[in-house]
Amino acid sequence: MSKRKMDRRQFLKSAGAAGIALGAAGVSGGYLRPKKAAAAKKRPIPKEPIKLAAISFLTGAAAAPFGIPGMNTYKMMAEEYNKQGGILGRKIDLLSYDEAGGVDAQVKLCRKLILDERVDVILGYISSADCKAILPLSDELGGLIMAYDCGTHVLMEGDASPYKVPKYTLGFRTKAHLGIDNVGLALFIKKYLPNIKSVAGINPDYAWGRDSWLIFETTMKKLMPQVKVVGTWWPPLFTTDYTAHISALMGAQPDVVHSALWGGDAVTFTKQALGMGFFEKIKMAWSRGEPYPQEVGKEYPEEQIICCAGTHYFLYPPHDKWPLNKWFVEDYTRRYGKYPTYPCYHAYQAIATYKHAAERAGALVGGWPTIEEISEVAVGLSIETPSGHLMIREDHNGVEDVLVGFSKRVSDFPFPILDPNRLEVFPAHMVNPPVGIRTVDWINGWRA
């Protein structure tokens, strides 16, 4: 523990100014708010372990490339924290559940966890559809829920800006929403491919895909109005045969194809597209493509635009500058034989957020805090994560920088990595809308 404190101090000397500013803002914000909670008198800390339910895809297409790495990280971090003495002295008892089975099954499971199992917190949910259905349950059933990966921007947004925050008192998302991915992509395309004529989209037919495309399209219209959209395709989630879609895309002849396909779908699409010579003509722009070069391996095409869903990348921040990432990558790789991908970083963010919030609230109320107190303290929290800083805002949503790059084959990795000379990091304030403003309105409000 002490060693890692050291590391952080080292970091603060060398890290970028933006980082500090953000961090400082976060920290101060964090200490200013919870006055009421502080009034509470001393309370005992229960002996029994914390029931922490982690939910992620453990079966189906999304399991191997996505859900399981996430779950692995939960296991790893729970172990790590328990080694450090748990949270306020309480050990973490990690209960893992499968997210497969559709929205309805998840609604039922969540109700069971809160009403029947009485878990302390639920960390989980990859599918935006699940999040949209689940987060309302946080206040309805009175349980603390932290969405760890799902992206849709409407999750925490109201119907018209400015909207009232927070939308859910007990519901959080410990990461930035898909705004960063798609705005980042658009900015990147504008910088590196200014002359493209046309784009198309292939996105899964549910909240995540629909909203990703919506933000991407809106941003492109703002940044590069000359670019035409030559078609959008909406295969259902977990489609196994994309051949027809691939041919249709090739027929539409776009310069760049935007895609929010993820997990097994992204892998399947890439393999089939390779087989059909898709990449000979067309460049993909993956709004969350970071894990898939590693999944597909050597034959993964070069020059594809890949966004890292934040700055979640096993080579960034550079290990010498940011030892926490070094430690995370090394520990994860040692345990599971693969490099951590962005779901892993998201899992880290979720569990770390809970830990810090609980500890701070505990310190303030002198004892084990209620979930309401935890949620109050979590607002404005700013924590270091392996990929930089995460700040939780008043809208209970995280904000992060975003990293975009081109895939490139190199000698020392068995799969393409992001070309180090053409990496772009767009700072949080460039890619996240301000609190209370709907992302679409924010983008439309830009001055050209």
Binding site: G60, A63, D98, V154, W213, V230, M250, V267, G275, V440
Partner: protein, 312 residues
């Protein structure tokens, strides 16, 4: 061209813009349709034989297809992707074999006691089998996706009018044609085939003629299962094998059967061509509603011609 959509108010037709098309791609669309038709044909052929001969609509047919897919994938992975062509292509047959075995068990323990029973029981027991299979597959091969793209990669691509197209798809089409023809020959030329047709035409008569309904029924079921498994095996090099893998093909096979007519082999052929082309061209032209179009067609046909195009 661009209109800023605001989330709350997008008319649903909005994102289905005019798709700019490259005319040179048409052959590819058609080929995709044929490829899709090819394996749907194999599945629905099996479904139809079972339906025709035994009068049982096998809801677990998709699961047999899935077992075939998993088995083939598993074998190929076990052989490791690098194995020689002479190993990995025969490996595809394992799919048919395992499905046949599962089919044999299913027929013997579940379907046979149902012969004399009412329709609802026959349907329900296959429904039970469907649920059962899902977890059996999970137990045997685990919950994760199985990739086995060996056979697909080995064959590479050819160029059709300047468009690259994977050779493997053509290979699948040819196989499907071969299977189709041989089944047809079997049905008209061989003694067993004739007997099977007799049963599907008129069960009572066939019984009166003293045909061994039970044995022939078992045979038909196993044949149908094997076809489904083989279809699964052919598909798996291009797609991962997943849990719930059989659901969509099952529904598509239903549509084929509905369009073509219950128990009609010719119907299975025509129906799967319709379904295949509708899907491929539907995706190319109106991406918004591919899925719905199929059911619309099926329903219309059922309304105007209840017995299907080639039904009796």
């Amino acid at each position: 061209m661009f209109v800023t959509p605001s989330y709350s108010s997008i008319p649903f037709a909005k994102s289905s813009r005019v798709v700019q098309r490259n005319e040179k791609m048409w052959p590819i669309y058609i080929l995709n349709g044929l490829y899709f038709a090819a394996f749907i044909f194999l599945i629905s052929l099996g479904l139809n034989i079972i339906l025709g001969v035994m009068g049982v609509l096998n809801l677990a047919h998709g699961s047999l297809y899935a077992t075939g897919a998993f088995m083939a994938a598993w074998t190929i992975v076990a052989l490791d992707e690098g194995a020689s062509i002479f190993l990995i292509y025969p490996a595809l047959l394992t799919g048919a074999v395992i499905a046949a075995i599962f089919g044999l068990f299913m027929e013997y323990f579940l379907i046979r006691p149902m012969y004399k029973r009412a329709l609802e029981y026959q349907l329900l027991i296959t429904f039970g089998a469907l649920l059962l299979f899902e977890d059996v597959i999970k137990m045997i091969w685990g919950g994760e996706a199985l990739y086995a793209s060996g056979p697909f990669d080995v064959l590479g691509r050819i160029h059709i009018l300047g468009n690259p197209y994977p050779l493997y798809f053509l290979f699948v089409m040819i196989l499907a044609v071969v299977v189709g023809i041989s089944i047809w020959l079997f049905m008209v030329k061989t003694k067993i085939g004739v007997m099977l047709r007799a049963i599907s035409l008129d069960r009572e008569m066939a019984t009166a003629m003293g045909l061994k309904i039970d044995k022939l029924g078992t045979f038909a079921f196993v044949l149908g299962a094997a076809l489904a498994g083989f279809a699964g095996a052919l598909v798996v090099p291009t797609t991962p094998a997943l849990l719930g893998f059989g659901m969509e093909p099952l529904i598509l096979a239903f549509i084929v059967v509905v369009i073509g007519g219950l128990g009609s082999l010719k119907g299975a052929l025509v129906g799967s061509l319709v379904v295949g082309q509708t899907r491929s061209i539907g995706i190319a032209l109106f991406p918004e509603i591919e899925l719905a179009v199929l059911f619309l067609i099926a329903t219309v046909i059922l309304v105007v011609r209840p017995q299907g195009l080639f039904g009796r």
